[in-house]
Every structure is written in structure tokens, then in C-alpha cells.
Symmetry: C2
Subunit: 352 residues, 2 copies
């Protein structure tokens, strides 16, 4: 396509944790875009950021910011997306939103290009959403296994990175670590808590040298919003509205990359050999599974990469229809920015 006919892309929330990664991703993927317009809160307007090797000035979020925009990628808090996505649509843009604002809206498809690419075609509100980063840690691998074995039940536990709570989450972990590292802290009652004081930032408890069984806000009956997002998101992307899903979300002192343990029960009997084949050949998934050689995915290896990494593939010892997996994925890349960029590319491809 001649450059003059290429679609204009707006990145809304260009200065945030996900927005920053989105600009890196747009700079490295096949360049299908005409103008890439950077948009952020008025407070950040005028800042210059690099994208595709060039500096671009950040425009203030407002109605005019969407003039002439074909696709708008939103990487902003829920309430900002709820307010401004319809404005962007009214100005003629298709919106791809990474927030929770529209995920459960029945008129907004929840899209993972490797799993349900056709979902982008039906978008009565002009809005497409990506699932939460925790669902995106497993859903590509799970979709491939579901296609062959037929998923029947999920039990999931998360090991979620602090960058899932944005820049404030990362800053909080770094501050807390600088207070506790190199000391004898962490073995006696209350010493981590004393060192950290009230500086728990976006987390309800200290996260350095600790794990916190809570992510998101209170939903109902003791469930957190992150846990509900995994259940709702998995059901919606896989088209299994009654799938039993039990989730516990836990924050861990990792900067970036969410990890999950997955107990997945299927319609049919599974074999580890076939499961490993499916995982190894599924687009967007890497099998990393040789415990004898010390090979399994960890956040330290997965950070900055695009695929879902899967290891520890075992058949449940007491159920020939169930698999155990450990999955890792970069929560800022496939967990948010990359998935959104892929959706936007798919929308453009469908138009041609």
C-alpha cells in the first residue's frame, strides 16, 4: 500500500507502562501504519517519545486527538477508556482497548488473534478488547489444547508481576527491595513489614520478600476482579460460556512476566506426548520442558519476549483427562501491548 493510503494509528496512553512497550513493539513489527499519533493525559502533552526510530510529540487526550484516526489503541485506566473510547469511535476510529472497561460487554469481542481471529469482524460498538494479562498468560496454549482435546474444567493459580499494577507497582517493589535487601530481614516476625512501613503503594501488603494473595479490587463473595477477569475472559475467548474456572490470583516480587500453574481437565484422555507436540507447534507458544536438564520457563528468561512459554507438562497422576502446566508470558507484551497491536493489524488486514 502506498504510504499515503496507510491507516493512521493513535496510541492513547503512550507514556504509561503498557504504552511505552507498545511504542517499542510498533517500532519492531512490520510497519503497516501511516501516521502514528501519540496521545496521553494533558499533563504529558508536549513530551517527545521515540517510535519507529523517530521522535514524536505527545498530543493531549481530547476530541481533536482522534481526527483522521483509523485505529486507536487504548492503554489507559478503565475509567479513561470508558470515557474516551466512544469518543474515538464517534470520530470514525476502530478502538482496540487493553483495559477492563469493555471486556464483559456482549457487544465487544474479546480477541486473541491466535485463538479467535474471526471475532474482530463483528464489532457493533466499534470497539475490540483484549483479555487481561493473566488470561493472556495461558490462553494461546490453552486454545491450542482445547482445539484437540476439548476443555472441560480449569483450576488456575497466578504468580503475577508488579508491573501489572503499572509504573507505581514497579516503583513500589524497587523501593521496598532497597529497604530490605542486603540485610538480615525477612526471617523474623514483622521485619519486612517494619522495614517497608506504610509504603505498600498499589498493593495491600508489602510485596518484597513476600507474596500477596490479592490482585485487583473486591468483586463479590470474596473474589477479586483479577480472578473474575480470568474466568470471564477464558470463557469468552474460547466460546465456552459455562466452563468451570477456579482461579486464585497472587502477586509476587517479580518486575515483569506473569506465571501460572494450570490444572486443565479435558473431554478426552490426554497424553503428555501429544500435548507437548501441540504446545511445541502452536503459533505464539514455545515449549520449554526438560526438567532433567533444568529447563522450564521462568520470568527471568521470558521477560521481553513475545510468546507464551510452557513447561512442566505432566498428565495428572490420578486423572487421565487432566494436564498440569506452568506457563509464563510477558504481561506488558502479549499480556497487553502486543496482543493489542496484533488485533489492530488484523483489523487492517481484514479491510484489504
Amino acid at each position: 500500500m502506498p504510504a499515503s493510503q496507510r491507516p493512521t494509528l493513535a496510541v492513547v496512553g503512550a507514556t504509561g507502562a503498557v504504552g511505552t512497550v507498545l511504542l517499542q513493539i510498533l517500532s519492531h513489527r512490520a510497519d503497516i501504519w501511516g501516521e502514528i499519533r501519540l496521545v496521553a493525559s494533558p499533563r504529558s502533552a508536549g513530551r517527545k517519545l521515540a517510535v519507529r526510530g523517530e521522535e514524536a510529540e505527545v498530543a493531549a487526550l481530547g476530541e481533536d486527538a482522534f481526527d483522521g484516526v483509523d485505529l486507536a489503541l487504548f492503554a489507559v485506566p478503565d475509567e479513561v477508556a470508558a470515557q474516551w473510547a466512544p469518543v474515538a469511535v464517534a470520530r470514525g476510529a476502530v478502538v482496540v482497548d487493553t483495559s477492563a472497561a469493555f471486556r464483559t460487554d456482549p457487544e465487544v469481542p474479546l480477541v486473541v488473534p491466535e485463538v479467535n481471529p474471526h471475532a474482530v469482524r463483528m464489532r457493533p460498538r466499534g470497539i475490540l478488547a483484549g483479555p487481561d494479562a493473566t488470561t493472556l498468560t495461558m490462553i494461546v496454549a490453552l486454545g491450542a489444547l482445547h482445539a484437540e482435546f476439548g476443555l472441560r474444567e480449569l483450576v488456575v493459580s497466578s504468580y503475577q508481576a508488579v508491573s501489572g499494577a503499572g509504573r507505581a507497582g514497579v516503583g513500589t517493589l524497587r523501593r521496598q527491595l532497597s529497604l530490605v535487601a542486603g540485610t538480615a530481614l525477612g526471617t523474623s516476625p514483622g521485619d519486612v513489614r517494619r522495614a517497608v512501613g506504610d509504603g505498600t503503594g498499589p498493593f495491600p501488603e508489602p510485596v518484597a520478600l513476600n507474596v500477596v494473595p490479592w490482585a485487583g479490587s473486591l468483586h463479590a463473595d470474596g473474589w477479586s476482579s483479577d480472578e473474575m477477569a480470568v474466568r470471564d475472559g477464558t470463557r469468552k475467548v474460547l466460546g465456552l460460556p459455562a466452563l468451570p474456572v477456579a482461579v486464585t490470583c497472587v502477586r509476587v516480587p517479580v518486575v515483569t512476566v506473569h506465571s501460572l500453574t494450570v490444572h486443565a481437565r479435558f473431554q478426552d484422555e490426554v497424553t503428555v506426548g501429544r500435548a507437548r507436540e501441540i504446545i511445541a507447534t502452536a503459533p505464539g507458544v514455545v515449549l520449554c520442558d526438560d526438567p532433567d536438564a533444568g529447563e522450564f520457563p521462568t520470568p527471568a528468561d521470558v521477560v521481553g519476549t513475545d510468546p507464551t512459554w510452557v513447561g512442566r507438562v505432566r498428565r495428572a497422576l490420578d486423572d487421565p483427562t487432566a494436564l498440569e502446566l506452568f506457563a509464563c508470558g510477558d504481561n506488558l507484551r502479549k499480556g497487553a501491548a502486543l496482543n493489542a497491536a496484533q488485533i489492530a493489524e488484523l483489523v487492517v488486514a481484514e479491510r484489504q
Copy 2:
């Protein structure tokens, strides 16, 4: 009992991570012991350690160390326990072992005093064992729930502290943290790994700013020894030899206190209200469960305490017979030293 008739206790492995905690525990519990003899490898012999407010000299492990000993608590590696526990028995002692050496031996009871106290009576080999620390993180709460609802299936994921790998584990985490803390590390590919280098100590991967889905040695079919210990231990303590148990064990950068997510399915329908009552009133268990007020257990709060802490109690949304829990327990105390001390006290009480 007059002090002269009180039983003699030997603590074998008195200088190790568990042994050190055992001496603190023996110093604070009701004092039923005559002599407390400290035993360790010849390398540590002659060192002086405090117990019950007095200094005691460490004796070298050897046949003579067990002369006149009534009870011997072993807190040593598996192979040392396998070699020396029978020696202690031959010299007339009852052995309480915290290692894995005898756990699966059908002639060695696996004892958790709150759950199966009567098991101490039948000890044809003169040896009693405690379960692994991961099983001990949940088994007291689970035993109470089982007594009422009838346990039918378990899916467990662990968040295991580095002190589970002994002093070397703690030293490794501290060293790694001092290398990565206060820097911008942890966000770019490979930077944690580069900073840590080959200094992964007893762990197969860096554990600072990371989670490692592996604990123990390779068992078979991709399962780790820690995962098998949870399945075997839970079945044996609860007397449910065919209980389906699916476990994934993961190491996290926490110094002390193991945490678990537990998906427990029962024979009968459960209610959260009754489950919380059972947990709140079970001896050795504390209910800490008010997410609205930010209350759930975390290692930073639980370290140094005796009970199992349970929070995040929910009924599975798609299965009225299943509960979700998050449990924390000090892996050096109830997870090892405290449970052993309780078993020893139970043996003495049964004699009287």
C-alpha cells in the same frame, strides 16, 4: 515428674536451619525434658548453642551420642537420617525425623498431632516421621475440613520459601538480591540472569525477582520430589490412599513461610460460612479472611508464628462441593521443627 525422671532429648542437626528453630521452640514450650543433648556433624562439634536459656556444647554425631537418649529429633539431610536414625533406635531412642528418608515407609507413621495423633502408637521401626513443609502448610486446616465434608480431590500450587532449601537457599537469595536491588534490573531480557550469573546455589535458576517452577529432585514423568511428597504425605496423614492430588511446586523469593493455593473438592456440598467456622475453631489454625478490610495471610505476617493461617476462603463458583483457600505456614516451625517437637511431646504424653 521430678526432673531426674524426665526423658532425655537429643536434637540431631542442632546447628542447621531447622535445628536452630527447634532450639528456640524447645526454649519456649512447656519444659518436659531432662537433658537436651545437641548433636551435629563432627565439623560443628564443640560449638556452644543456647537452649532453655543455657549454653550447651554440641556433640559429634556418632553411636555414643545416643547413649541414654529417650527421644531423638532428627533435622538433618535424608541420607544422614537414613544412616543414623536406626542407630539411635538400636540404642533405645524413639526417633522423630523431619527428613524425607522414612516418610513413605509403610512401617513409619507420618504424624501431624492435630490430625492423626493416635498414629504415634504404632511404630514398629521405632521411627516417626513428619510430612514435608509444603504438606504441613495446609494439612491441619485440610484435616479439619475433611472431618466434616469428606475430602474427594485436591489441586495445589505452592509458593515455597528459599529457607526450604536450608541455609544455602537463604544465602543465595540474599546474595542475588544485593546484586539486583536498587538497580533498573528485572525489566529487560536476561538482566536478572546476567546480574546473578552462575550463583544460583541450590536452585536451578535465579530466584531473586523470579519464580522457579521446581523444588526438589526429579521423580519420574516430569514430577518433582516435592510434588510427590505433597501427594504421598496428604494421602498418608489423612488415611486416604487413593485421594486424587495434583500439585505444582514453585519456589518464590520469600525467605521463610510457604504459601499454597488449594482447590479442595469434597463429598458433600460446602458453605463458606461453615468452612470459615471450621477453620476458625480448628486447633492450630487461624482464619485471616476479610479481603474488604485488606485481610489475608502473607509470609511477612506469618513468619515466626506457629499456626497455619488460612484466608481467601471461597466456594468455587462452578462447583458447590469445592472450596478455594490460600494458606500460609512457617516452613521452619510447623513445617518442620514445631511439628517434630509436638510429636516428641505426644510420645512422652502417651507413655505416662
